[in-house]
């Protein structure tokens, strides 16, 4: 994927519209090239798998499917097509058709090749070196990434949070942002738009959990343990530690309460 996608970043051809997906999202040239790289590699290595991806949906490869591969070939398509340097690719593997079954994961930065990996029960690494999230608890000093794009209602939900964070970021690739929370480059990541797909977060979720960070629904409940082959949408908060998570949750929750009055 890196070899196929990296040379296309910021090039006009990358954003050529190739088709439309079931959800109404646009499929661009760069997405197709990236998924083809995954598909070719899986076929070449004769991996018997159920491949789950954004563009192709669910695809069975080989005779007896031994593994579920959940793929987001390009996360940050807008950044990639515009030439903004924040783009990633995600692959997660599970023996069972459940989100909770994911046993290994990789998220690669497609700009510089930096690679996050995790194996269940064995922790997470960046470029082979163990990582841990930040211990920063004070929201007023925290660097927090929030995705608000195309979601007017979520703007209202996060407004109190926006006013409290030390430094606000919005970088445009959820998988890489969650991994940056896992490694302490960000203190938290917030997306309450209910737009993130299983493919967007499957790999990053294992990486942040194995690093020792939190990834939960905005109300503090665990992420739903969905079937990998189903289409699902998520809202979530990833945070380096419980105290910071609670500070964020309270600010989101107080807004939800005020809406109910």
């Amino acid at each position: 994927v890196y070899k196929a996608v990296n040379p296309l970043i910021g090039k006009a051809v990358s954003r050529r519209i190739i088709g439309f997906r079931a959800g109404g999202d646009i499929t661009r040239y760069i997405d197709v090239v990236a998924e083809k790289a995954v598909l070719d590699s899986v076929k070449r290595n004769k991996v018997n798998c159920t491949l789950i991806s954004e563009e192709m949906g669910v695809k069975k490869l080989g005779n007896e499917q031994e593994v579920y591969l959940v793929v987001d070939a390009v996360d940050g398509t807008t950044n990639a097509t515009r030439g903004l340097s924040f783009v990633s690719t995600s692959i997660a593997a599970s023996e069972v058709n459940r989100f909770s079954g994911i046993e290994s994961a990789v998220v690669m930065n497609l700009i510089d090749g930096g690679t996050y990996t995790a194996v269940k029960g064995e922790g997470s690494k960046f470029n082979g070196v163990r990582i841990a999230p930040s211990r920063r608890r004070d929201l007023s000093y925290a660097v927090v990434s929030v995705d608000l794009s195309k979601s007017p209602t979520s703007v209202d939900v996060v407004t109190p949070l926006l006013k409290e964070v030390g430094a606000l970021r919005a970088l445009g690739s959820a998988a890489l942002e969650i991994c940056h929370v896992a490694s302490g480059k960000l203190d938290a990541y917030v997306d309450v738009r209910n737009k993130l797909r299983t493919t967007d977060i499957a790999a990053a979720t294992l990486i942040i959990k194995e690093a020792g960070g939190l990834i939960l629904q905005p109300d503090g409940e665990p992420l739903r343990d969905v079937n990998l082959t189903e289409v699902n949408r998520f809202s979530l908060v990833a945070a380096g530690n419980k105290r910071l998570f609670e500070s964020i949750r309270r600010l989101l929750k107080s807004k939800e309460c005020s809406k109910g009055r």
Copy 2:
């Protein structure tokens, strides 16, 4: 600056607090190292100049000062200290002590060395190739970067804008974000916090103007033509074209009106 700063990015030593500035901002190790690199270079090359920078303030070098150099050695200190890949350095040169006098400018991306340059009347370049801003006029498809950090009142001012933009970003280095508008990687950049300093924007302002983009106060007035040696703060909107600027201005303005009721 690139050679001095790049190896420090994401390293713990980079964020060591060295002192406090007049404005109450913190001075970190990485800021000091970067400014020393500028100062050493200016001395080594025997440039007779008035050097204006964040940490050192106004410093006269040589016998007869022939040029004003406006320097922001590290823009994106938080990103640099946390290891987030969006950091720049800015230098602008003027023969007179006026913002409008700036004749040449450089903004370098300290992650990959990519370099924006401009000479008054001769256009702007990225890595030596002429650049132009985007012609995207429709806000609902635009990629717009907004800085909201540590400014609760500005959150309210930009809320209507946040609800309309196609893709929202907050990248953390104003100079590089303005240059990305100049080159069409972003469609617009908005900062209504009244926090940007002359040093932050002097170089990027020439670069976006020479590229053919707009940089104005949020109400559409030109940026104030201040003395370079004075301390001033700015709010601004940079946009690729007039139509997009007007769409943004209207959304900011309508909020200001509603506050007045």
